[in-house]
């Protein structure tokens, strides 16, 4: 490696395009959006600096706060369902695919398929399957003798959010599955054999050998799920529209942001309040990522192998 005094032209040429595009279309908009969240109409006309007023309004005013906290709560539920269903199912599937089973590649390909399809398809296909007019969900439940349990799942306030979360899980489960699989394949066979020779059964091998070794992947999947969920929008919008019905019961941060920014029905769009919602999303996501970086990862380093 050469020591250089003047910044060499060729290095600048290599770096410039990426740094330029990234700065102009990602970092700058992010900063300008945060700046916009500190502005609003001021008394006396025009737009001016109002400090954190937009955030205070968002979190406390009668008009904004209930909607914000509703979206936040729903988003937490959305995330918890992904953590409790998507990631354990993905892990179970990965462990099964990693056992010496025939046609594992075929299963893997099929199970990953929904992740390749657009949310519009996933959302609408399920909307039709669950539509009482078509009656698919009824005939299937009825087949198992559970016909009485059928509900218009997406139309009821109590069930719509859980249903949409599960549709999202159905669509995305392939991604954590592949990440877990990648970690599982890397575990040396000798390690597993050694445990088996010592008399460990399948569960013990999983619990005491495989699980500790794929902990880093579990943590990464958790943080990716967190970021993805608190940034989600497409599925809810495609299935329920920007009003996130019924009665805002499926409203999450992404749809709330969209409505605030672009307006809906009689309420006009508001770039400053929209930017404030995005600012809150930024804060939430940043908190999650920092928790991961400083908490999880430090603990993880010790069990690197």
């Amino acid at each position: 490696m050469k020591r250089v005094r003047k910044f060499p032209t060729h290095i600048a040429v290599f770096l410039a395009p990426a740094v330029l595009i990234y700065t102009v279309f990602m970092i700058y908009p992010m900063l300008s959006s945060l700046w916009l969240s500190l502005l609003n109409r001021i008394p006396g006309g025009g737009t001016g600096f109002v400090g954190l007023q937009n955030y205070v309004t968002l979190l406390t005013s009668e008009h904004w706060a209930p909607r914000f906290w509703n979206a936040f709560r729903n988003n937490v539920v959305f995330f918890v369902i992904h953590m409790l269903v998507q990631n354990p199912v993905a892990l179970a599937l990965a462990v099964m695919l990693n056992s010496r089973i025939r046609a594992a590649a075929v299963y893997r390909t099929i199970i990953f398929t929904p992740a390749v399809l657009s949310v519009v398809l996933a959302g609408f296909a399920w909307r039709m399957v669950l539509n009482p007019v078509w009656g698919i969900s009824y005939t299937i439940l009825d087949f198992f003798g559970l016909g009485d349990l059928d509900r218009p799942w997406l139309g009821l306030e109590e069930t719509a959010l859980v249903t949409l979360s599960l549709i999202s899980v159905w669509q995305n489960v392939g991604i954590p599955m592949v990440l877990f699989l990648a970690a599982l394949v890397r575990i040396p066979d000798e390690l597993l054999e050694a445990a088996r020779v010592d008399g460990a059964n399948a569960w013990q091998v999983f619990r005491h050998v495989q699980l500790p070794l794929i902990m880093p992947s579990l943590a990464i999947v958790a943080v990716l799920t967190f970021v993805g969920n608190f940034n989600a929008f497409d599925l809810i919008y495609a299935t329920q529209g920007s009003l996130a019905g019924p009665n805002f019961s499926t409203d999450i941060m992404g749809t709330f942001f969209f409505r605030t920014f672009f307006g809906f029905q009689l309420q006009p769009g508001d770039p400053h309040m929209g930017a404030a919602v995005a600012g809150m999303m930024f804060l939430i996501i940043l908190t999650g990522v920092l928790l991961y970086l400083f908490g999880w990862q430090r603990r993880m380093e010790r069990i690197e192998y």
Binding site: A18, R100, L121, V133, D234, G274
Partner: protein, 289 residues
């Protein structure tokens, strides 16, 4: 390296597989596979049936009597799907090309040269791995209207490129650090310029470029958010947005809706059938790095 371990052949060990345990695993995987493709098959199969048959007998394949393309005819009359496909293709290929080009250049610089600010720049570029670009939407829309890029495909290409750069640079830098020095030094001794050296080693980064393409492709092709916000005009609609708008207008025309959904998955499914191995391996390799 990661690719090699991911496809390592498994040695048949002395593990005792009781037949019922194998059956159990096959049963579980089979059941989940069915769940994964059931809604998709249901949509596709019924898109070829007459309206009455969709409701009377949703689980059967179309027969001579029930076969009907009315949904596809409605689609052809009311939505410009060939144009949507072309737009999606231009945006996806354009963004992928730009991501691979500019990220490999930057990754080469970060991996090859020691210069002041190298680590800092790597960290700066890594911010975007975790912070989603959507959070800058308000600023982005303002910027795009100042640049008069709203309702152009360029707006989408530039945003998707910016979105793809952080992870691409990260994965490519890791890979390029492992490339052998001898080749580069030999070329330098022969009088090659630094640009020549880059051109020389780019083919060696092909596996990592494949990984990056695999990781970047789906979020671009399937994105609804920016298509909706930055380029919603009829001329610039992507397949995803075009389908979404069409579904909204024809929500009660089941034939048309099923046809639109079926048609919108054709490119994704065709590509997936061809590239599924590369795609999944690419994701696996990318996750290890």
């Amino acid at each position: 390296m990661a690719l090699a371990t991911a496809t390592r052949p498994r040695i048949v060990g002395e593990r005792k597989w009781t037949w019922w345990r194998g059956a159990l695993v096959h049963g579980a995987l089979l059941a989940y596979s069915a769940l994964a493709i059931f809604p998709v098959l249901l949509v596709v199969v019924n898109s070829f049936k007459a309206r009455r048959a969709i409701f009377a007998d949703p689980y059967s394949l179309p027969t001579a009597e029930t076969f009907d393309l009315v949904g596809y005819r409605t689609l052809a009359q009311h939505a410009n799907f060939p144009l949507y496909f072309l737009n999606s293709l231009i945006v996806t290929v354009g963004s992928l090309f730009l991501i691979l080009l500019v990220s490999s250049m930057a990754a080469h610089a970060l991996a090859e040269y020691q210069f002041r600010g190298n680590t800092l720049l790597s960290l700066y570029l890594a911010i975007g791995i975790m912070v989603p670009i959507r959070l800058g939407t308000v600023g982005l829309l303002e910027l795009m209207s100042k640049l008069k890029l709203v309702d152009t495909l360029w707006a989408l290409i530039l945003v998707y490129t910016a979105q793809g750069i952080p992870l691409a640079v990260f994965v490519l830098t890791q890979h390029m650090r492992q490339l052998p020095r001898e080749l580069k030094d030999a070329a330098r001794i022969d009088g090659a310029s630094e640009y020549h050296v880059f051109r020389l080693i780019l083919p060696l980064a092909r596996p990592a470029l494949g990984t990056v393409a695999a990781i970047s492709l789906l979020p671009i092709w399937n994105d609804l958010w920016f298509a909706l916000i930055l380029a919603p005009s009829e001329r610039t609609k992507t397949v995803i947005l075009g389908t979404q708008v069409f579904l909204g207008q024809f929500v009660n025309d089941w034939n048309a809706v099923l046809a639109a959904l079926s048609l919108s998955i054709v490119p994704a499914v065709v590509l997936y059938v061809i590239f599924s191995r590369q795609l999944i391996r690419g994701l696996m390799a990318g996750s290890i790095k």
